[in-house]
Amino acid sequence: MKTEFTYQVGDEIKTVTIEREGDCFQVTVGENRYQIRAQRPEHGRLNLQVGDRRLRAHVASDGLRRYVALAGQTWTLERPQPQQKRRAAAGGPGAGSLEAAMPGLVLDVLVVEGEEVSQGQLLVLLSAMKMELRMSAPVAGRVAKVHCQAGQVVERGQVLVELSDG
């Protein structure tokens, strides 16, 4: 039985196909074929053998993100978004919206909905790990919606303020 996995690498989608033969696997990455012996001695760890090389890999996953530590390097891979999620993301916030540049605690929101703001105007004050970050309007416009309030913890990339054309 063949199983296929896809990963987003930059703009490219890489496909990995695995066919099991006992504790040995025929693995195809793009055009290349490998015979890999793989065991999972404990959660989060793989023992691999490729030809004469034996390696210990550490793996973890978080949502669509996959982490692989192998031979002294750590790689972060992304599984592609499911179709419906991709569409939702495409219809998401426009270029005029302010997204959190880092995860953090909202210290202060300096604007209210309906307010006209100029480009570069300070909208939200974020703080994380003793560092303060001033989040300013990327473009001039009107505040269509404020999505955060003081005291709230936000994630990186979360929309803080939506702006619309003045």
């Binding site: 999972r40 793989l46 996953s61 978080d62 530590a69 499911p82 994380a128």
Partner: protein, 509 residues
């Protein structure tokens, strides 16, 4: 010796102190905020008490809350670690007034050395070289006249300052009045204190500090230097000892000045004198004194064989320092790298998240002081420094190679760290030659980005094999060909959180 100590801190330093206490047979009390209920330090201590919500002002900086816990649980001493309340003389005084021992210097010594200007005055009186400067008046005319005597370029600094706030570089006389005004405004905003002073600017200096110790029996000595010239935005990132710059003569002279400083203020317990060294003429100047344990104390421990935390406890308990200056020697070479939860590809902004898997490097001469392990959460509330990697090599070249190896083998999955940046720093030829100055990072790493290398086939294969094997291990049926089902974020791989927690507990030290 004490029977029970409260550790008024969190993270790796709390873990470090708790371990030392446990080795000495002293019971420990940890305090924690709601964000740290499951943190390593709370699990390690014999007793752990919640002190408040996550913001430091309501938890780790709440001296009254912490003192209350110490009294209620019958502690006989408080160790403040570094940061938080460690340099708060009022808190130290309150601890002593409550009848407990403060593991640190006297509140009076903390006050003298806590203000930059009073520290400068005390050091000048003790014959310790200070950077030529002027702090006697806030009058414009006096400051302008003094600037002429000091010479340009010079620095305007805030009396209450720290972290570069209220600091201005002035290249020539005409720029001074405007610089004074803006520095005062910034100092007033940052510290509520507009006072400033002037100092000669030493271009491209080295930052070299001396570990000192005094005891209640009049003994004072130093445990040699640490070089901390590799800094990013005034934050140290790589430290080492011995310093590649010092020779025996300069080490002896700086050490003697440091001990003179300790004697001058009657300093008891651990402290650090920070100096700027001008590499051009090898002259050194007192910068400031830190009246507490330092983040980078492990490298001193590695080369001198002295456990500084245990020595702090012994001295606080009234015992004399059990060795003499002549018995202090640096053996081999130690380097420390600070691991920060920050994203070099996103302007070094903080990165938070759950540590999905932590595997620390182990081997001869490799030490990890970490506050986190598998399953722990790194939050927005506290310092981004999550661990320190320390190596001890035969000599400097060996230590650098060992650090290179250890950085590669430090697996931290789930959050972004500065490990790739540390790798680049210790690989840089200027660092390799031992010639880094405090502007090294600014000069050679401006706009630095981690190499966006494409993952090798084997990494992709490992990821896919993990999906297959981890999924099968929890009894889920293999996913179908086609990739859509396999791309589901709620795939079998995600259902293994329970197991992951188990793995986390198993790997705790």
């Amino acid at each position: 010796m004490f029977a029970k100590i409260l550790i008024a801190n969190r993270g790796e330093v709390a873990v470090r102190i708790i371990r030392a206490c446990q080795e000495m047979g002293i019971r420990t009390v940890a305090v924690y905020s709601d964000a740290d209920a499951d943190a390593l330090h709370t699990m390690l201590a014999e007793e752990s008490v919640r002190i408040g919500p996550p913001p430091p002002a309501q938890s780790y900086l709440c001296g009254a809350c912490i003192l209350d816990v110490a009294l209620r649980l019958g502690c006989d001493a408080i160790h403040p670690g570094y940061g938080f309340l460690s340099e708060n003389a009022d808190f130290a005084e309150a601890v002593q007034a409550a009848g407990l021992t403060w593991i640190g210097p006297s509140p009076a010594a903390m006050r003298t050395m806590g203000s930059k200007t009073s520290a400068r005055a005390a050091m000048a009186a003790a014959g310790v070289p200070i950077v030529p400067g002027y702090q006697e008046s806030q009058e414009e005319a006096e400051l302008l006249a003094a600037a002429g005597r000091i010479g340009f370029p010079l620095l305007v600094k805030a009396t209450a300052g720290g972290g570069g706030k209220g600091m201005r570089i002035v290249e020539k006389r005409a720029e001074l009045p405007a610089a004074l005004q803006s520095a005062r405004r910034e100092a007033q905003n940052a510290f509520g204190d507009a006072r400033i002073y002037l100092e000669r600017l030493i271009r491209s200096p080295r930052h070299i500090e001396f570990q000192v110790f005094g005891d209640a029996h009049g003994n004072a000595l130093h445990l040699c230097e640490r070089e901390c010239s590799v800094q990013r935005r005034h934050q140290k990132i790589v430290e080492e000892t011995p310093s590649p710059l010092l020779d025996a003569d300069l080490r002896r002279r700086m050490g003697e000045a440091s001990v003179a400083a300790v004697r001058a203020v009657g300093y008891v317990n651990a402290g650090t004198l920070e100096f700027l060294v001008d590499p051009a003429d090898r002259s050194f100047y007192f910068l400031e004194m830190n009246t507490r344990l330092q983040v980078e104390h492990p490298i001193t421990e590695q080369v001198t064989g002295v456990d500084l935390v245990k020595l702090q406890l012994q001295v606080a308990a009234g015992q004399p320092i059990p060795f003499t200056q002549e018995q202090v020697a640096q053996r081999r070479h130690a380097i420390e790298c600070r691991i920060y939860a920050e994203d070099p590809a996103n302007g070094f902004l903080p990165s938070v998240g759950k540590v999905l898997r932590a595997v620390e490097p182990v081997g001869p001469g490799v030490r990890v002081d970490a506050g986190i392990t598998t399953g722990d959460e790194v939050t927005v509330h506290y310092d981004p420094m999550i661990a320190k990697l320390i190596v001890l090599g035969e000599d400097r070249a060996d230590a650098v190679r060992k650090m290179d190896w250890a950085l590669s083998r430090y697996v931290l999955l789930g959050l972004t760290t500065n490990i790739p940046f540390l790798h680049a720093v210790i690989g840089h030829e200027v660092f390799r030659r031992g010639e880094a100055t405090t502007d090294f990072v600014e000069r050679y790493f401006a706009g630095w980005q981690p190499r966006a290398a494409e993952p090798p086939d084997l990494a992709l294969a490992a990821a896919a094999l993990a999906e297959l094997l981890e999924g099968a291990a929890v009894g889920a049926s293999p996913v179908a060909v086609g990739g859509v089902a396999a791309g589901d974020p709620y795939s079998p791989w995600r259902q293994t959180n329970g197991l992951r927690m188990g793995a986390g507990l198993g790997s705790q030290p």
